[in-house]
């Protein structure tokens, strides 16, 4: 079964497509917003450029999905700049603040997130909504670098003087990472309509099968996933930690201060 473009969806189908798109777009956007906090603060010039580059990729992916929401009738203001922060549906993993100078957190977060992102994209290659399926290849091509980058760093940060910092990041971030696979209200419809060809439980299992052995191979202790209490705020039902509201205020600050009629687009952009 294949759905057509945005204009021939039934209201139920529309809700499901929107939920899927907002989950993805918000994840990418907020992850990137956090990564750019490292600009000029990363341990070396090279690692600064690499993480900035990854952030730029994620902003680009967010743009891919927000554009599809705009095809459905939303404006960019409604998607980002003037949207109530209490309606965003990114996972609470990506909104967590960094403790000052905690590079291990940034790297581990990227590893956990990008591994999940890769699985999610693979489950969209055959999406029944063609505008999504058409855009997956670009994302997949870039995610490979992100994972290689994170894995290479993790291999070097562990086993020495920084091992405990990585372990602390695992302890702190792992429960939040599980919210990547928490369901929103339209999850059943997303799978029934074939918008995503795998359900979240299967994606979670596949993710655990990759992430847990890799981290354990680095002598890190990973919490038993089924015994981890999911954080109260998963993000997927639009519940968020306080840090998110501060972050939202930060990144919309300039937009609000300038009181623009509409967001500025750079010349040559979309």
């Amino acid at each position: 079964m294949s759905l057509d473009g945005p204009h021939s969806l039934t209201p139920d189908e529309r809700d499901a497509v929107e939920e899927l798109l907002f989950r993805m777009a918000d994840d990418e956007y907020v992850a990137a917003e956090r990564y750019i906090e490292w600009q000029i603060f990363a341990p070396t010039l090279e690692s600064d450029l690499a993480l900035s580059n990854i952030a730029q990729d994620e902003f680009g992916h967010a743009r891919l999905w927000y554009d599809l929401l705009q095809d459905m009738g939303y404006s960019e203001q409604e998607c980002i700049w003037e949207r109530d922060p209490a309606t965003w549906t990114h996972s609470t993993l990506v909104e967590q603040p960094f403790e000052e100078g905690d590079w291990a957190d940034a790297i581990l977060r990227s590893y956990l997130y990008d591994t999940a992102e890769n699985l999610r994209m693979e489950a969209l290659v055959d999406s029944s909504y063609p505008p999504i399926a058409d855009r997956v290849a670009k994302v997949l091509a870039e995610e490979r670098y992100h994972r290689e980058h994170a894995q290479s760093w993790l291999e070097r940060l562990t086993g020495g003087e920084h091992h405990e910092k990585v372990q602390a990041a695992v302890d702190r971030l792992f429960p939040y990472a599980l919210t990547l696979f928490a369901a929103g209200p339209n999850e059943d419809a997303i799978v029934e309509l074939g918008l995503r060809t795998e359900n979240l439980d299967d994606l979670r299992e596949e993710w655990l099968e990759i992430v847990v052995p890799f981290l354990e191979s680095l002598d890190l202790t990973v919490p038993e996933p089924d015994e981890v209490a999911l954080p109260e705020e998963t993000g997927r039902d639009a519940s968020h930690t306080d840090a998110w509201f501060d972050l939202y205020e930060d990144f919309t600050h300039t937009y609000n201060e300038l009181e623009l009629e509409e967001p500025i687009r750079l010349r040559g952009e979309g």
Binding site: T44, E46, S47, L49, A50, N53, H149, S152, R156
Partner: protein
């Protein structure tokens, strides 16, 4: 540790030196070089090499040549001779033209296939 970076634009071309990156080891050097020297330019391949492994000889150490007048090697004297009456030359030129055409045709065929 500093790694020198060489970028090749197209298969078969030379790898040209484009700068360097700081990285603790080969693998990280390759990852960083991709971002710093490959992302914004057409790139087919990148080499990284430890700076210490590159050996240099410069113009203080040696005389490289290339500074003396070698104009005498350019045999221009015969360029204006009319060779149209000399059978050997006419035949040879015809052969060369035919061979050049064949090469062109083969190249085109390869490109089309």
């Amino acid at each position: 540790m500093i790694w020198e970076v060489f970028r090749q634009e197209k298969p078969g071309g030379y790898h040209r030196h484009v700068g360097n990156v700081h990285a603790p080891d080969r693998e990280m050097a390759k990852l960083f070089a991709q971002i710093q020297h490959g992302r914004r330019m057409q790139t087919h391949s990148i080499w990284v090499a430890p700076q210490d492994e590159i050996s240099e000889v410069d113009d203080e150490d040696t005389s490289f040549g290339g500074t003396t007048d070698k104009a005498y090697r350019w045999a221009m004297t015969y360029n204006r001779v009319d060779a149209s009456g000399i059978q050997e030359v006419v035949e040879s030129e015809a052969e060369q033209r035919a061979a050049a055409k064949k090469r062109e045709a083969a190249k085109k065929e390869e490109a089309d296939s």
